[in-house]
Each structure stands twice: as structure tokens, then as C-alpha cells.
Amino acid sequence: MKKKILLFPFLVFVLVLSIFFYLLLIERNPSKIPSNLINKSFPVFEAESLITNKKVVSSDIFENKIILINFFATWCKPCRDEHDFIMQLSNKKNLKIFGINYKDNSKKTQVWLEDLGNPYSDVLIDKNGKIAIDWGVYGIPETFIVNSKGIIKYRHTGPITKKIYKKIYALIEEAN
């Protein structure tokens, strides 16, 4: 009896360590934040378009197509880094990309899009960050994929990297 109890510290130790090992070995990002919006329908919004200067309602955008929503700003350096990937994604058929211009200067954004290219079907102005709050945006850049039924399927915080690009690409293929 006593002998078995003596093994207890060792067993607890092994259990704790195996969990640590597991977490180190799987590819995980400790600062990644899961979204509560996954598999739920998108939060509705109303905003002014940067390109047409008209009011846009969210139901105008989601018209039975796969949509990629990208929160960005010109003052955000990582947004510039991911811009090439978004440009590449914009060549994809069956996909519409919308940019939400988060707390930004509209003039600067226009210049930015002229310089770097405009991958967005439309850019909506989120001057005071209200849309971002509704979508639970943690920090920009942030990207969401909404399927043709208006359900949010994927969320990525931080810039799109090569790895994430491949993932998003695969997700869109799958959804088609």
C-alpha cells in the first residue's frame, strides 16, 4: 500500500510534463484568441463606402457568395505586410473581399490603395471602430471568412502569412 503511494508524485509529474510536451509539439500560438462568432451568422452593420461614398448595409454585401472581411488601416504596418496576399486572393473567382477601414484617414487610405493596389470589392469606413467592436476584433489586421449562407467560418488575428494564406485558400476551395 505504502509502496504504491510513493509512486504518486512521479505519476503526477509525468502527467503534467506530458501535457507540456504535447502543447509544445503541436503547433500552437499561445496568444491566439478563438472567436465566439465562429459558426454564427455575421453581425449586421451599416457604413459609408470609401469608394462610392454611399451608405452600405451589410445585407447588401452578403449575397450568397463567399466573403472575406479584412479589417485594416494605413497606420498599421502588418496590414501592409499582408496586402500582397490579399491582392493574390482577390484574383480568386467566387470570392468577394471587403475591407473595413478601421479608425483611419480616408484620404490616406485612397492613396494607399492606389499605391499598393485595391483587392477590395468595396471598402467600408469604420471611423470610430464600432463595426470592429461588433465583430469582436482584437487588433488589426484581422480577417474573417463568411460562407454563402452568411455564417462566419474562420477568423484570423494578425497579418496573413504564407501559411495562413494557404489555409485560407484551402478553406475557400473547400467551401466552393
Binding site: 505504502k2 508524485p9 512521479f10 510534463l17 501535457i19 507540456f20 502543447l23 509544445l24 499561445p30 491566439k32
Partner: protein, 626 residues
């Protein structure tokens, strides 16, 4: 050149650690062992010195200096920057390790040579492990070519005097437990529990480790208190927990050792505790360094480092715990003792400390366990710890007050009561005073005040009437410190008052009996930052000026960081604490004002605990004729 010299010293250290292992294992030539021990100490000192020198002269050809330093940084922070990053802190860790190694060696004489040599053998293995890790995965002497003209700077919130010495103190604590670990493993291997008083050797090292850990944690707390600007001093951050857990086990270990000494009991328990304290220290380091948990202390995300440390812990832990399972049988005895005795009270406190430690461990790693099994992310915070740790710690504190009054062995209950009577009276008196002053109805507050006063009066009376040295002075002072600490914790957590408001110039606000006037705001320039500084005039009820508080909002252009510098006015009863937030002249500034009662007693208490520890350390080293 510096890189070459640094790498060379690391390689020499590796060599000496191997030679220490071999020579102490052979157990023939004491001279050869001494060469290895001293050689190891000197070479580790040199590698640490070389890195420090490179930081001081801003030698940006070293990647480590480039990443963590800048020419404009004040000298103190150039030096503390050495251990303010992962690679450099490993060198400090190794230096402290070799220092303890040297102290262990200095204890050697004819009677204990088998035990000490066995200990040095284990120490050599541990040192080798850390050296190997540093050299191959965290080498601070990596170069960068061409050398950049200036560095990237150093995280400004770490540029602080308390934080400059916080890591070295903590490391003395963590690494001190390596000495007790090695000694316990040596005792288990040698298996001569009756013939050799190994526990006497353990004790000064446990006291040293525990004492410095206390001070290290306290300084970290002080830093968090005035630098983070959140008005509190403990946040149950995973890394705070990582230092708190070995401290709890160390507390249990320290007290169990007394029972081993006086009653020849609990030997196996002591061995287990001392193995676990060190394992928890290293696991703490792992949690910090691997980036598996995010916190202010996370240095760099690098899985390969994590895997290495983890493999090392697995090796150390499996070996020592299996050894414990196999060999500890001999250290058990069936000596039972009464509840109302000194040893009874110590044992109960021991169990409570271990339970608290287990609770904190569970809270710290629960999010990781859950994520591993379900993928869900949760965070465990203050509510969990408050509702689990506090109820376990309260009885522990009560018993802690009684313990020193009890005698070894059996005793009549009435006698105990008679002995405790003066301090019961004193406790009632002080509790009533506090009660009238704070006019509280919080149960936790009342409990804290009564328990704090209980410990204080007990120990104060014992210090005053200490005749025949029946009680160790170090113990009494440390316990007095704990009493004050409890008062401080109670005051600052139960009666804290907080105000967050937007203020423009000339605005006034009241908190408790104080009137606070926002007089002006200025731009100032520091050595490596620019800042705005507010001036707040604090008046009391009679409109007498008490002080002017000047909180700052600093911007460090090199690292592109903002920091807040709280401004605090302290007296023995309360801290007034003001933090300046965002704002401008038109809309005003967000100002946070805290009134934290009794905070200063936390720091005084911690300092007394430290002092008591130092006194005990001296006495216990004398027992070894050191």
C-alpha cells in the same frame, strides 16, 4: 573577439562540469575535485563578466547586446539588461549555480566527504545540463555582422531599480533549491539515514534559498505595484505563481526540517519536498521561457528551447522521483505525535502549505490541461485563487500563531491556554483598535486583522521575554514579519478605495479624507524618454497641504513604448497612489486614484522575514562549524 572569449569560457565551464562529475564520482583525489569546482566557478564568472562588459561598452557586434541594449541607456540598466533577457539570464543562473556548488564544496571534511562528493556529483550534472542548454540553444555570444551602429533598446518597463535586482535574488532562491535537491538525491542514493545527519546540511541551504526567494518575490511585487500602475501588487500571473509555488514548498520544507532535527521524524517527507521544490523552480523557468504561457515575463517564443528544458526536467524529475519511490522506505518511521504539540502544529501547517501549492499549481496549469484536451481557452484568475487559497491559508495562519507557544511532545491544554493568555489579550486590544479605525464589516477584513494581530502579539511578546534562548530569534522575527504582511495584505485588499475619473486642470476630487487638486501638466525630458508629468496637490480635511504627487506618462522613442509611472505618497497607515492616463488639454486626462491602506507593512513584513532568514542562516551554518 568577445564572442570567441565568451564561447571559450562556456566551453571551459562545460569541461569543468564534466571533470567535477568524474572526479567526485571516483572519490579518490580531493584536490582534483577542488580544481574542478574552483575552475567551474571562475570560468562561469568570466563568461558572465564578458557579457556584462559587452553590455556596458555597448558592443553591438554581439546579437544579445544589439537586441537588448542601446547607447542612451543609463549604466545601471545596461548592467541589469544582462539578465533582462533570456540568454543573459541563463548565464546568471549558471553563475549562481556554480557559487552554490562552491559553497557545498567548502563544507567538505573527513566525516562528510562521501555525502558531499555525492552531492557535488549531482550538482555537476545539473550544471552541465544548464551549460549545455545555454551553449547550444541560448548562446549569448552569437555575433551579428556587420555590427549595427546602435541597439534596439531595452523594454522600458523593466528599467527600474527594484527590477534590476529582482532576478538575481530570485535565482539565488531557485538555484539554492538545486543544492537541497542534490543533497536529498545524494542522501537517497547513499541510503544511510541513521548514521549521517544529512538534514543538518540541507537546512542552511533551504533557509538561504527560501529567504532570498522571499525578498525576490517581494521586490517583484513592489515593482508591479508602482510600475504597472494597476494599484495592486499581486496579480496571480502564471509567473508570479511560478515563484510562489517553490516558496510554499520551501516553507513546508523549512519547518519539516526542524521536526527531523528535533524528533527524527518526517525524513522521507523532507526528501520529497526538497526534490519537488527544485523541480517546481525549474518548471517555473520552463513556463516562463518556453512561451507556453504568455505573461509579462515571456522572453522569446522558441519551441526548441522549451523542448530542451522540458526534456531536462523530465530527466531530473523521473530519476529523482523514481529513486525516491525505491529508496525512501528506509526513511519512514512509525513515530506518531500529538496534535497539541509543536511538531503537530508544524505538520498541519505543512500539509496546508502543500495543499495551497497544489491549488496554485492547478490554477496555473489548468488552462493548459483544458487546452490540451479540448482546445478551449480559459483563463484562471483572481476569483479562483481568492476562493481557494484564502480559506486554506487562514487556518494555517491561526496555527502559525499557536505553534511557537507549544512545546515538543505532549502537553496539557490548559497550560497552553495559560501561556497564550497575554497574547490573546493583546490581540483583542489591537483588533479592537483596528476595528474602530477602519469601521469595517467585512468578514475577511476582520479575520485578517485578528489573525495578523494574533501573530504579531505572540511573536512580539516572545521576543520581549526571550530569556533562555528557547526560541530562535530568526524564527520570531520572520514570524513577526508574516504577521505584519498579513495586516498589509488585509488592509490593501479589503479597504482599498479606487477612483477613475477624467480631470482637467484645476479640477478637484475627494477620496476618503483627502482633497486632490489637479494643478498643472508639464512636458519633461529624461535620459532616454520624454514624458508629460501631472502635478496633483493633496490636501487633508483642514486644507493643509500634505504632498504634491507627480505621476508621469513616459514615451521611450527607441523601443516605441509608453509607460506610466505612478506617483505614490506613503505613510504607515496608507498609500495615496495616482496614475495619469490618456488625455489632452481640452477633454482632460483620465486619472486613477487609489487609497491603499497599510500597504507599506507588506514590504516591512517581507523585509523582516528576510532578516529573520539571514539570522537563522548564520546560526544553522554555525552548527556545521562553517
Amino acid at each position: 573577439m568577445t564572442s570567441f572569449a565568451g564561447n571559450l569560457t562556456l566551453l571551459i565551464s562545460l569541461f569543468f562540469s564534466i571533470s567535477q562529475f568524474i572526479t567526485s564520482k571516483k572519490n579518490k583525489n580531493l584536490k582534483a575535485v577542488s580544481y574542478s569546482v574552483v575552475g567551474l566557478l571562475i570560468s562561469s564568472f568570466l563568461s558572465f563578466f564578458i557579457l556584462t562588459y559587452s553590455h556596458v561598452v555597448s558592443d553591438f557586434s554581439l546579437l544579445n547586446v544589439f537586441q537588448n541594449s542601446h547607447t542612451t541607456k543609463p549604466l545601471l540598466y545596461k548592467i541589469s539588461g544582462v539578465w533582462g533577457n533570456h540568454e543573459g539570464s541563463m548565464l546568471l543562473w549558471i553563475l549562481v549555480l556554480t557559487l552554490f556548488n562552491f559553497f557545498i564544496f567548502k563544507l567538505i571534511d573527513k566525516k562528510n566527504s562521501i555525502f558531499i562528493l555525492k552531492t557535488l556529483e549531482i550538482q555537476a550534472l545539473i550544471t552541465f545540463g544548464f551549460l549545455f542548454f545555454t551553449f547550444f540553444t541560448s548562446n549569448p555570444f552569437e555575433t551579428i555582422y556587420p555590427p549595427p551602429s546602435n541597439g534596439l533598446g531595452f523594454n522600458p518597463i523593466l528599467q527600474d531599480p527594484a527590477l534590476a535586482i529582482h532576478p538575481p535574488l530570485l535565482y539565488i532562491g531557485y538555484v539554492g533549491f538545486s543544492a537541497t535537491f542534490s543533497m536529498s538525491v545524494a542522501a537517497l542514493i547513499l541510503n544511510n539515514s541513521e548514521s549521517f545527519p544529512w538534514h543538518l546540511y540541507l537546512k542552511p541551504f533551504v533557509i538561504a534559498a527560501w529567504t532570498f526567494l522571499t525578498l525576490g518575490i517581494a521586490l517583484g511585487s513592489i515593482w508591479a505595484y508602482y510600475e504597472l500602475g494597476w494599484g495592486g501588487w499581486w496579480f496571480w500571473d502564471p509567473v508570479e505563481n511560478a515563484s510562489f509555488m517553490p516558496w510554499l514548498l520551501g516553507t513546508a520544507l523549512l519547518h519539516s526540517l526542524i521536526i527531523v532535527e528535533k524528533r527524527k521524524s518526517l525524513k522521507a517527507w523532507v526528501l520529497l519536498l526538497s526534490i519537488l521544490s527544485f523541480l517546481l523552480s525549474v518548471i517555473g523557468t520552463f513556463l516562463v521561457r518556453s512561451g507556453i504561457l504568455t505573461s509579462v515575463h515571456t522572453f522569446a517564443l522558441d519551441p526548441s528551447r522549451g523542448i530542451y528544458i522540458l526534456a531536462f526536467i523530465a530527466l531530473l524529475g523521473s530519476y529523482s522521483l523514481i529513486l525516491f519511490k525505491k529508496k525512501s522506505g528506509k526513511y519512514f518511521n512509525n513515530y506518531y505525535f500529538s496534535f497539541f504539540s509543536k511538531e503537530g502544529s508544524i505538520l498541519i501547517n505543512n500539509i496546508l502549505m502543500v495543499v495551497v501549492c497544489g491549488t496554485v499549481l492547478l490554477g496555473t496549469i489548468y488552462p493548459l490541461i483544458l487546452e490540451a484536451f479540448t482546445g478551449d481557452k480559459v483563463s484562471v484568475g483572481e476569483p479562483y485563487y481568492n476562493s481557494t487559497v484564502v480559506p486554506i491559508i487562514l487556518p494555517a495562519i491561526l496555527i502559525m500563531g499557536i505553534g511557537p507557544l507549544l512545546a515538543w511532545g505532549k502537553q496539557e491544554k490548559f497550560k497552553i491556554f495559560k501561556k497564550a493568555l497575554p497574547s490573546i489579550l493583546l490581540t483583542s486590544l489591537t483588533s479592537i483598535c483596528f476595528f474602530l479605525f477602519f469601521k469595517t464589516d467585512s468578514i475577511l477584513g476582520i479575520a485578517g486583522i485578528i489573525l495578523g494581530s494574533w501573530i504579531i502579539s505572540n511573536n512580539l511578546l516572545l521576543i520581549l521575554i526571550r530569556k533562555n534562548k528557547s526560541h530562535s530569534l530568526g524564527m520570531l522575527i520572520s514570524h513577526l514579519g508574516v504577521g505584519l504582511l498579513i495586516l498589509g495584505i488585509t488592509g490593501s485588499s479589503v479597504w482599498q478605495e479606487e477612483k477613475i475619473i477624467r480631470m482637467t486642470i484645476q479640477d478637484e476630487v475627494k477620496i476618503k479624507n483627502y482633497n486632490i487638486l489637479f494643478k498643472e501638466i508639464n512636458e519633461i525630458k529624461g535620459p532616454n524618454y520624454v514624458a508629460i508629468r501631472g502635478s496633483f496637490f493633496i490636501n487633508d480635511k483642514k486644507e493643509k497641504l500634505i504632498t504634491i504627487l507627480k505621476p508621469e506618462n513616459r514615451f521611450y522613442p527607441i523601443t516605441n513604448n509608453f509607460t506610466t509611472e505612478a506617483s505614490i505618497h506613503t505613510n504607515l497607515l496608507r498609500d495615496l497612489y495616482i496614475v495619469l492616463g490618456d488625455g489632452n488639454f481640452n477633454d482632460g486626462w483620465v486619472v486613477r486614484i487609489y487609497l491603499n491602506p497599510l500597504v507599506v507593512w507588506i514590504w516591512i513584513g517581507a523585509l523582516l522575514i528576510f532578516l529573520g532568514g539571514v539570522i537563522s542562516m548564520k546560526i544553522n551554518l554555525k552548527k556545521l562549524r562553517f
